[in-house]
């Protein structure tokens, strides 16, 4: 009757007899009457697979997808192409039906792909050590802030307002818990205001947090920011980066960043209405023992053969309880496999080509949209795959009209940045074609 429950009526009876009980209810006699639920749950009765599939599929069809629309929306979640191989590997159930590799000898598959993922993140960012993942880009920033506070024993975080607004909200929620003060620095022309940043960096500052390319798609001058952040001894620089951008941009390590974090969704993980995604974190060797979460290390087995194992566990909740560096237990597991497969599939040349095409197409789109003069660039700074434009028209109205034309328009900046009221942030990945970009710009042009 229940496909996932193999015991038959007869099995049930024999097992009850073996343990000396008459009926199943007796096994729940330890639950006192004052808390026992003496009615059925108010849920529907069980259903066949076909009925469930029909209902859930019907719900899915009430959504309009990026296959129905042409997507120019980004703002933290991106429509990059996902090679077919990624899903085929992540759907191997030897991987996805296992758990945290506590028993190393029968978990070498998981342990090795995490080790490879850590290596890939290190190679990409130039950092020495990466962990086995955090929940998402936003919580990665919050964890990095806690880590910096822990390393420096300081209670102030200075963060640029050009960092993703959602991530800043998460940081503020977390920071409040530990009485950490969060100071936000305004932008000037779409980048972090360096003078204001400098004025907030003191001997109380645990870390400066910036994002590059920032929320507006602009590449921040990390070299200049690094000088400001490190003008105070021990203050750490945390940078949130788009991993795709590292196909062409300088590595955070070469720019003097102490902790690199970011959202890894762009690395082969579907949009899925916001999750599950992938938070990554990497740092210098000197801070290795302050990292949150799981870390896999290489070792040998009894015969001296190369093997992998969870390591540096003295940082973790299941060993250290209240002295752990973080409470994280479940992480993003299988999504690290997706990211690893994505990165090795694109490889040395492919990731660079994805980044280059996104750059060229985004710049082409910016030029096309603004050439009539009806739309103007909101900023005049070097950008990667996203850019902001503004016009006399209301952003939500523009997006409604674009939707009628089966175009998923950009992110309306006005709510989070009132000073950029009619601003719209467009994202252009390597997936967009010239034809799609031309159509966007011609529909936009026809509106005003």
């Amino acid at each position: 009757m229940y496909p996932y429950i193999p015991n038959t009526k007869d099995d049930e009876q024999r097992m009850l007899e073996a343990i000396g009980f008459n009926k199943i209810e007796d096994l729940f006699s330890d639950i006192p009457d004052n808390v026992k639920l003496n009615r059925d749950l108010d849920l529907k009765p069980s259903m066949s697979e076909l009925e469930v599939a029909n209902y859930i599929t019907k719900l899915s069809k009430e959504n309009t997808t990026i296959n129905d629309l042409t997507c120019f929306l980004g703002a933290g979640a991106y429509d990059h192409y996902i090679p077919s191989i990624v899903g085929h590997i992540t759907s191997r159930s030897e991987f996805y039906t296992s758990y945290t590799p506590y028993q190393a000898e029968i978990s070498q598959g998981t342990l090795q792909y995490i080790f490879e993922y850590q290596s890939l993140i290190c190679n990409l960012t130039g950092m020495d050590v990466a962990n086995a993942s955090l929940y998402d880009g936003g919580t990665a920033i919050a964890e990095a802030a806690f880590m910096a506070s822990n390393v420096t024993r300081r209670q102030e975080i200075v963060i640029s307002k050009t960092v993703n607004p959602q991530a800043r909200e998460v940081l503020k929620t977390y920071a409040h818990l530990q009485g950490i003060k969060v100071i936000e620095v305004e932008d000037e022309g779409g980048v972090t205001n360096l003078e204001e940043l400098q004025s907030h960096v003191t001997d109380k500052t645990a870390a400066v947090i910036v994002q590059s390319p920032n929320f507006f798609g602009i590449i921040e001058d990390i070299e200049a920011i690094e000088k400001v952040a490190h003008s105070q001894k021990r203050t750490l620089l945390i940078a949130s980066v788009d991993p795709i951008s590292l196909g062409i941009l300088k590595t955070p390590a070469s720019l003097g960043v102490d902790i690199v974090v970011g959202e890894g969704q762009a690395l082969g993980i579907p949009l899925s209405f916001g999750g599950p995604y992938l938070g990554f974190i990497a740092t210098k060797k000197s801070h290795m023992r302050k990292l949150p979460g799981r870390i896999v290390g290489e070792t040998i087995d009894t015969e001296g053969k190369r093997a992998f194992v969870l390591t540096l566990q003295a940082r973790e909740q299941h060993i250290r309880r209240e002295k752990a560096t973080s409470n994280i237990c479940s992480n993003q597991g299988i999504n690290t496999l997706a990211a690893a497969v994505y990165l090795v599939t694109l490889g040395k040349k492919g990731l660079r080509e994805v980044a280059l095409q996104a750059t060229q197409k985004a710049h082409y789109a910016m030029n096309e949209i603004t050439k009539s003069g009806k739309y103007k660039p909101l900023f005049d700074k070097p950008f990667f795959k996203e850019f902001a434009i503004t016009s006399s028209a209301d952003a939500d109205e523009i997006n409604s009209k674009l939707l009628e034309e089966k175009i998923l328009g950009g992110y309306s900046l006005g709510k989070e940045y009132p000073q950029y009221k009619n601003g719209i942030l467009y994202a252009v990945t390597e997936k967009r074609t010239k034809e799609e970009i031309d159509r966007l710009s011609s529909v936009l042009e026809g509106m005003i």
Partner: protein
């Protein structure tokens, strides 16, 4: 099959490729003309060059070295390694769910919002709570969310001296770690010799500095905290709140609800109780349910309904704010709702009944060979305290490693901390009597081996892809990335 021991980096050969993009069809402008040279990386990327065939064979070989629920019995206590139904995967992969952007307008994602709304209602009914936030990413993240709510509740009343969270000594490690992360201090209270909350210890710990109590029920020994009402009254009586760690909820679906026991805030581990895959470590999902007294503080946005229209509600002026990006692990929520609809009220109850029957039957089969509390009804899991008549040099770790040779994933070891040589099996409802009997036979055989030939345990495992790994070397000389 040949032994495979390559890293993907070792397969790299210049000129190999596994990708092909369409030709760039916009004007090809040199990147240096678009982005200032000082921002650009002149070096080649340090990524491998491999073909698609290399990649597929590499990861297929790696998957051969892995053990999952689909491979065999995986009785990892407190982790509820139940079967992950395949229809759940199919539903999460539907175009209408997999390919929607989180910032699309609400009118284009009505199906997704409806699913979240209905899941919220179903989880509230199962938990006996008033409202859920689907945002938390995992169980530990749910704990952090719940504690954040407890903190906000006390702060809102201007009661700032409540800085302590009580945690039993049998609690999951995440409980004290979450409490510290949330800016509380912890007070650990002792368990009775039977493994339940010691009421006298609890009373002694209570004061006007206590913000709340975190409790798992059934607890990590698989025992139902029968005095839960009294515990709740005591904590509430001193002004504290009760947090329910839902890690063990698979034992009580449709039997008892944390809300009715007096808990104010609850998390579920969707990847345990509601059958979503553990994914080699995640992603999980940890929705948190609250009673009305905490509703004002819930993370935003929530999903609400107005007539036939579903929307994201940000209108909670006292909200603690965001716990994570977007709305939670939506793809995992789709799987969980599929499971809840499949099982229905009758199936969920049946699942708990069978999980509990399986645990008690397995405990019964093992109690003559391993130390187990006598005459006790367990819920979904139980804890063995080492071998009966075992030689002192044979440890639980040896037993666990020997189980690998018999083709099983071992139970949780050395947890809870209050049990010496703990070995904690949680069979779940997914297993048949035959599987349990074979597993029990293996453990009994191992108990014999421990007496007659302890070396075979000490040197185990013997037939796994690698032998016992050297954890000390890994920690002492950390190699955390491929150095080439």
């Amino acid at each position: 099959m040949r032994k495979y021991n390559e890293l993907i980096f070792e397969l790299s050969k210049p000129g190999r490729t596994a990708y092909r993009l369409p030709e760039n069809d916009v004007e090809n402008i040199a990147v240096e003309e678009l982005i200032p040279a000082e921002y650009l990386n002149d070096d080649e990327l340090n990524l491998p060059e491999v073909s698609e065939v290399d990649i597929i064979r590499h990861y297929t070989n790696l998957s051969d070295k892995n053990f999952g629920v689909d491979t065999g019995f995986y009785p990892l206590g407190s982790c509820t390694m139940k079967y992950n139904p395949k229809i759940n995967e199919d539903m999460a992969s539907l175009d209408g769910f997999k390919n929607i952007h989180p910032l699309q307008s609400e009118e284009t994602v009505q199906g997704a919002l409806k699913l979240m709304y209905e899941l919220d209602k179903a989880l509230c009914e199962i938990a006996g709570m008033d409202k859920m936030t689907l945002q938390p990413a995992a169980g530990a993240h749910g704990e952090l969310t719940g504690l954040t709510l407890i903190k906000a509740y006390h702060e809102n009343r201007g009661d700032t001296k409540r800085t302590k969270i009580i945690v039993p000594d049998s609690a999951h490690g995440t409980n004290p770690a979450s409490a510290i992360m949330a800016g509380f201090d912890t007070i650990e209270i002792k368990s009775t010799k039977d493994g339940l909350v010691d009421i006298e210890s609890l009373k002694a710990a209570l004061s006007d500095e206590v913000a709340g109590l975190m409790l798992t029920n059934p607890n990590t020994l698989g025992l139902f905290e029968k005095d839960i009402k009294e515990i709740a009254d005591l904590v509430h009586g001193c002004g504290g709140l009760l947090y329910y760690d839902g890690a063990n909820a698979n034992a009580i679906l449709g039997q008892a609800r944390p809300g009715d026991m007096g808990f104010d805030v609850v998390h579920f581990n969707i990847h345990k109780t509601f059958s979503t895959p553990h994914g080699g470590g995640g992603p999980g999902s940890g929705p948190v349910g609250v009673k009305k007294i905490l509703l004002d503080f819930i993370p935003t946005p929530t999903v609400e309904k107005d007539g036939d229209r579903y929307y994201l509600d940000y209108d909670y002026p006292k909200s603690v704010g965001r716990m994570k990006d977007f709305y939670g692990h939506f793809g995992i929520l789709v799987r969980a709702y599929t499971y809840i609809l499949t099982m229905g009220r009758d199936g969920l109850k049946k699942a708990s009944e069978m999980a509990v029957l399986n645990a008690n039957y397995l405990g019964h089969r093992l109690k003559d060979h391993y130390n187990l509390q006598e005459d006790t009804i367990f819920k979904h899991e139980f804890v063995l305290a080492g071998l009966k008549d075992g030689l002192s040099e044979v440890t639980t770790l040896d037993v666990a490693k020997r189980l690998l040779d018999y083709g099983y994933h071992p139970p949780t070891v050395y947890f809870p901390l209050i049990v010496n040589e703990a070995l904690m099996p949680e069979p779940t409802e997914s297993e048949s009597k035959e599987t349990l009997d074979e597993f029990a036979d293996a453990l009994i055989k191992i108990a014999e081996e421990a007496r007659e030939n302890p070396e075979i345990l000490k040197e185990a495992p013997h037939n796994t892809p690698v032998g016992r790994v050297n954890e000390t070397q890994a920690a002492r000389n950390p190699v955390l990335k491929y150095e080439g």
